[in-house]
Symmetry: C2
């Protein structure tokens, strides 16, 4: 089934079940008011949502309505935890190469992960509001999973069982801010403004053979101002699968239901498939020609991130966002 | 008024109003089910809670009961954001000095801040469960504030208005884990397990003259295994006040109501007042005698963190925690 959230009914929105074609939906009224609540009591709630999804498919769901996915909130408009890995180590290696620094060998065995802000995610078509173009505005196309309660110290194999939903996201990044920020040694903070999510998160059955329980074998398509920017496959060159990433996140802490774990920017070694962020293209340009050519995003620029199934149907709906100038309060 | 949370009624617990002496309380039934809900609608909710606090003080609150603060949850058992500063730069300077590295001058003007895990805080007397003593288990006594909705790009002066509650906390840290983690360049993650909070969070009026709107002029008392470890004053040598820390956190993002901002380990230049974490004492020992003497915490060790008002009354109640061995799932 596919689950989304209407921008109505408060800060967490209202949970809806969405059909496979992403054009009809029904409120999960009486089952779970929000996606967070559903994840907290998944064994009880999920079968009821699945029944409703079946009714929707068979055109028997009472109160179903025509859906415009562009009006949706992030499936979890806010979450208690957002931990983002950097699981495509080939991407990290490239970035280091461009900077002329060697990557520690441990990066191939010990995942990089940062704690992201999770209090105010933005919806798939919400504008990316930022104060300054000079911050080096970039998108990052990623895969994300939502888990139920995960005990501290879990193994990578056992962690797979806790994956309840899969989605895609745009981990908006401020490249010029990150450079100075990382030099401070405390990780990212200003460099990672609000993250955007696709219209829906889906259960494994919606992914069929493309999902092996811990990774997604399909291309993630990014488009910048109407031109395709890249379509790297999300399982190719993936160094750490979601079982490993969840286990890593849970090494010294329990993860509460509703935690979102991200893959980091989807990237393949093969340069012909393009990139899921501008920074990587600039790195490839630097390696090839000595300097970056593609500029970061300007106000008015649009990014679209989407994943299609084998039949060409959008799985999660599209993230499609414009960057706009934000004016801070006086 | 003083607000706390009972471990009943679900993951967010049940909001209670607590009397000044911390020995009687009343459920905020009919006003706000949880502290998170109260912070989301503070202008409407706070006056009603204040009325209830007055009734409790006058022994007229229906359903009031005798309170054992040690049984409470963290005031916010989970939050949507926990951003922890390092506002006592004198502490950072000492750590650097012990390592023989110079501190960038910018650290005096540009706050350090990291994004912490906020999905599962622990209560004031909950055990600190960890798998391995070799991780270098340490406490960090800090001041924290809870805010309502803060717009991105706010000024430090305007940010003060958004402080709704003040509390103290134990930002449990794994020193030996942090060393290798920081070397990876992505900041803290494994090195920061679940954070513990005092029994109650309080409004400014409970702090009287000790609160100037952005900092707390009282000593924070830490006790390790029954021996006082330090009592540095929380306003002495504070480089960035809470107005500045909130503005820093909101530089590139909105902060949603219920966000918690931390001060970082309370530290004074004057070594005679002691420390709020073991790491700092070890640094001072290293500077004085060439090597650290005080060991990090072992299983069975206890830490107590508390703040008293001028009359000796505990303001927030005590954090009093034992470190115990955690066995991960098979």
């Amino acid at each position: 089934m596919k689950l989304g959230t209407l921008k109505e009914g408060g800060r967490d929105g209202t949970l809806i079940v969405v059909n496979r074609d992403l054009n009809r939906a029904v409120r999960a009224t009486g089952i779970a008011p929000t996606l967070q609540k559903a994840l907290e009591d998944w064994p009880t709630i999920a079968p009821k949502l699945a029944d409703l999804a079946e009714q929707l498919r068979d055109d028997k769901a009472v109160g179903s309505f025509e859906l415009d996915t562009s009006a949706l909130a992030a499936p979890l408009p806010r979450a208690y935890q957002w931990a983002d890995g950097s699981a495509y180590v080939v991407h990290v290696e490239l970035v280091r190469k461009a900077r002329g620094v060697e990557m520690p060998a441990s990066f191939w065995t010990d995942p990089l992960m940062y704690q992201g802000g999770s209090d105010s995610f933005i919806g798939p078509n919400d504008e990316i509001e930022l104060e300054d173009e000079a911050w080096g505005i970039d998108f990052e196309g990623e895969i994300g999973v939502m888990v139920d309660d995960v005990p501290m110290g879990i193994s990578a194999q056992a962690a797979r069982r806790h994956i309840k939903l899969v989605t895609i996201l745009n981990d908006v990044s401020l490249r010029n801010v990150i450079v100075t920020e990382l030099a401070k040694g405390f990780g990212f903070f200003h460099g990672k403004p609000a993250t955007a999510f696709a219209p829906v998160a889906v259960t494994a059955d919606e992914l069929g053979d493309a999902w092996d329980g811990a990774k997604l074998n399909l291309p993630l398509i990014s488009t910048l101002n109407g031109k395709e920017f890249g379509h790297p496959n999300a399982s190719t060159d993936l160094t750490f699968d979601f079982g490993q990433l969840i286990a890593h996140a849970a090494r010294t802490r329990h993860l509460e239901a509703g935690t979102i774990i991200g893959s980091g920017t989807v990237a393949n070694r093969d340069s012909s498939v393009g990139c899921s962020c501008i920074a990587e293209r600039r790195v490839r340009e630097t390696i090839e020609s000595g300097k970056p050519v593609t500029p970061f995003m300007k106000f008015g620029d649009r990014v679209r991130i989407e994943m299609l199934d084998a039949s060409g149907q959008s799985i999660f709906g599209a993230i499609d966002q414009k960057v706009v100038r934000y004016t801070p309060p006086a």
